[in-house]
């Protein structure tokens, strides 16, 4: 899976650029499978991307259009998908989002993730052996009525907390 070390992230969004460009030749956040959440007032920059979660909420797709590939990546069948949006709603952290009637989800670029190559700060790494060991159960709660962006913000805020604690203990000790 793609492992995020948000303490190193500057928020430049080069991962988004590389993802969108590799998949479509065009550049735009809406076309990216990794999306950086930025909250300037807390110094938060956090790339949100599929966590290969234990629960695999997205495979509960009512059309059975989603399966998990050999790298642990999410694969959407374009023939079975009816763009109902269930996967977007099911993902607790906003890592799946529909854009122009296609569910955008990380496919690990077939094992050579372009976002990782684009990051010059080591804030995202590819660890092929790491998959299926993150639980998103706590984020699933009360996520039903949230937009993907709201879910990403909630995830980023929670995951960023220890980083802020480190900062504050270092600078305000």
């Amino acid at each position: 899976m793609i492992v995020v070390d948000a303490a190193k992230c500057s928020g430049c969004s080069r991962c988004e650029v590389a993802c969108s460009f590799f998949h479509s030749g065009k550049v735009g956040r809406a076309g990216s499978r990794v999306k950086v959440v930025k909250m300037e007032e807390f110094g938060i920059d956090f790339p949100v991307v599929c966590q290969h979660c234990v629960e695999r909420y997205c495979v509960k797709c009512p059309e059975h259009a989603i399966e998990i590939g050999p790298l642990g990546q999410v694969i959407v069948s374009p023939t079975l998908c009816t763009t109902c949006g269930a996967c977007e709603a099911l993902c607790p952290i906003g890592a799946i989002e529909l854009f122009e009637e296609i569910p955008y989800v990380c496919d690990l670029c077939g094992g050579n993730p372009r976002c990782v190559k684009a990051c010059t700060l080591d804030a995202i790494r590819y660890e092929p052996e790491t998959t299926g060991n993150v639980s998103l159960e706590t984020f699933r709660k009360k996520s039903k009525n949230l937009t993907p962006e709201e879910k990403r913000v909630r995830f980023a805020l929670t995951r960023f907390e220890p980083i802020r604690e480190t900062w504050l203990s270092k600078r305000r000790a």
Partner: protein, 605 residues
């Protein structure tokens, strides 16, 4: 089909509430390219020259580069242009961050705002949908609160906001606009124009993807630029310190403004340097959209936190005012960013007052009882609050240093360090001659960014010989050839501004020139941008800017520097004994431009 470009120009009249989307005209873009070139050409063609900058007729233009929001690194800037309330001439200011990219992804190359709303409003642009919304509940709130409140009420943390603070609302003449909280459109008072139009913010959400004409060729060019950035000898230092590296660098060459340019050396520079800032307060790097330098920094002090500061703010609130308290300067950085006032112009009003107090030209009675002793942080903080709210003495300070000194008279005008009403930046021109010429001729007033002739600091003598046949160009203290350098880098700076690229990369690191820009533009947009066409476009923009400023009342007499820099030699340090013979350089610059001795483009007199 146009690639790279957003494809539309948005016109909004706040008086009538009328909104119009026009298609971007390829022929017009070949002539103006985008960003600053597009903005100032529009101003030249459409602005009635004698309008009061605070009247509804003044224009507020937002220009985004043709390749912003693509693979091209470090092209995240947006330029805001209008007739400056501070100077009365061409005004513009650029900032990085993420606002420009969002505007492009919403489909726009330029937004043109005219008129005045009767009540406070904000503009909400969501792709094709444009609304003018009530901002009564946001009026009075600072920039950070406003940004957070807008994101909250729109239910979308990903919207990009360019907003003003209380200073802009109160029509402080050097009020700023900021996006991403601390990415500041600092100079020439664009935030004051927002305030005069009752416009609190522009909020943008764009979900389109930007296309490229020749994708593979363009991607190759971008990869080359990225590699050039990463392999640059200055990369590590720029990554670690950003522009704050200049504190020690300028001290080293004896031109670090200290106690309002009375000295070029600061004996406590180690307490206020970029290195000290990084060691004690930095927690991580920050970045603009798609940049691989990540030169900005996030800091945390025992009481405050935020992004920045850049060199100009750091110097303005430390050595320039005789202040050695770095934590105080960081606190002021957050205050200026939240309230929305320019650090350089506000700092100059205070520096002027401190020097006039030192010389006995102003008494405490003149100054509302405030003690303007060097480094008096209580006074600095107090007067800043008075400026933001235009209270007491702050009302006069809020008009800018030129107006302030005229009002007090008694010789205080000699210590108002501005060119054409724009307060000088933090680089003493006596030890950097081409910069001195740049401040004198810059079309927005006393500022380096119009030409950023960084080359003179590099000691690349052989390269100077190769490019211009004048070795002295690489010697910062030499006068010879500096007009040639500035005439050249003025175009180099403009191409960066038209692409809304970062000039640290374009000029200081010397990685962008007309040829490379032409290749990028052709591959990116599909329009036939030959190097000749690009160069003609740049020359056209520079000439129109000059003609516009002549219409605004500028003449050769104002293409100069304050007396100190022309006549008082620096007393110590590596630029000891230096002054700037600005008149001869200005005349040579006119000749190179093909302007007459009054600085008027020939055939237009």
């Amino acid at each position: 089909m146009l690639h790279g470009y957003g494809g539309f120009i948005l016109r909004v009249d706040l008086t009538s509430g009328r909104v119009r989307r026009e298609k971007t005209d390829p022929a017009y873009m070949l002539k103006t390219i985008g960003g600053r070139g597009l903005n100032s050409t529009r101003l030249f063609e459409e602005l009635k020259r004698d309008v009061d900058p605070l009247s509804p007729e003044n224009m507020l233009l937002f220009g985004v580069g043709p390749l912003t929001g693509t693979l091209l690194p470090a092209s995240a800037y947006t330029t805001i242009t209008g007739k400056s309330p501070l100077t009365g001439i061409l005004g513009d200011s650029a900032a990085g961050g993420f606002f420009g990219t969002e505007l492009k992804q919403a489909g726009y190359d330029q937004v043109i705002v005219t008129g005045r709303s009767e009540t406070p409003c904000y503009l909400l642009v969501t792709n094709d949908t444009v609304e003018i919304r009530d901002a009564g509940h946001l009026w009075g709130r600072d920039i950070w609160e406003t940004t957070a409140a807008l994101r909250r009420e729109l239910g979308d943390n990903a919207v990009q906001v360019a907003a003003i603070g209380p200073a802009g609302e109160n029509l402080v003449k050097f009020a700023t606009v900021a996006c991403n909280n601390s990415r500041t459109f600092g100079r020439t008072g664009m935030g004051c124009i927002f305030g005069s139009k009752n416009l609190k913010a522009i909020v943008v959400r764009g979900t389109r993807r930007v296309t490229i004409a020749d994708t593979l060729r363009f991607a190759d060019l971008c990869r080359k630029l990225e590699a050039d950035i990463l392999n640059h000898p200055e990369y590590e230092q720029r990554h670690a310190l950003g522009s704050t590296l200049l504190m020690k660098a300028l001290q080293g060459i004896g031109i670090l403004p200290t106690r309002h340019f009375q000295e070029g050396l600061c004996d406590y520079v180690d307490e206020i340097s970029g290195e000290t800032l990084a060691e004690r307060y930095k927690v991580k790097n920050k970045s603009c959209f798609n940049c691989n330098i990540h030169c900005s920094r996030y800091f945390i002090t025992p009481t405050h936190e935020g992004e920045g500061p850049e060199y100009e703010t750091l110097c303005s609130y430390t050595s320039r005012l005789g202040n050695r308290d770095l934590e105080f300067a960081l606190r002021m950085t957050t205050f200026l960013n939240r309230m929305g006032i320019d650090s350089l112009s506000s700092g100059e009003t205070i520096g002027w007052a401190m020097e006039c107090a030192q010389r006995g030209l102003l008494t405490r009675e003149d100054l509302d009882g405030l003690d303007f002793t060097w480094g008096n942080t209580q006074t600095i903080e107090k007067i800043l609050r008075m400026i933001v709210h235009r209270e007491g003495l702050g009302d006069a300070f809020a008009e800018g240093t030129r107006s302030l000194a005229r009002r007090f008279g008694k010789g205080t005008e000699n210590y108002a360090f501005h060119v054409k009403g724009l307060d000088m930046i933090c680089g003493d021109p006596r030890g950097i001659k081409a910069f001195g010429l740049t401040y004198a001729i810059a079309s927005r007033g006393g500022d380096h960014l119009r030409a950023e002739p960084f080359f003179e600091l590099t000691e690349r003598y052989d390269e100077a010989e190769r490019r211009w046949g004048i070795r002295e160009i690489a010697d910062r203290l030499a006068v010879k050839g500096k007009a040639v350098l500035v005439e050249h880098t003025e175009r180099q700076a403009l191409i960066s501004d038209c692409l809304t690229m970062c000039k640290n990369i374009g000029l200081s690191m010397d990685l962008m020139d007309v040829d490379f820009a032409a290749r990028l533009l052709t591959a990116g947009t599909g329009l036939k941008f030959t190097p000749e066409r690009v160069d003609d476009a740049l020359k056209g923009v520079i000439e129109r800017d000059r003609l516009l400023n002549i219409d605004f009342g500028i003449d050769a007499g104002q293409d100069t520097l304050p007396e100190r820099f022309r006549k008082e030699p620096l007393a110590e340090g590596a630029s000891k004994g230096q002054t700037v013979p600005v008149e001869e350089m200005v005349q040579e610059y006119y000749r190179l431009k093909g302007w007459d001795e009054r600085g008027v483009p020939r055939g237009r007199a």
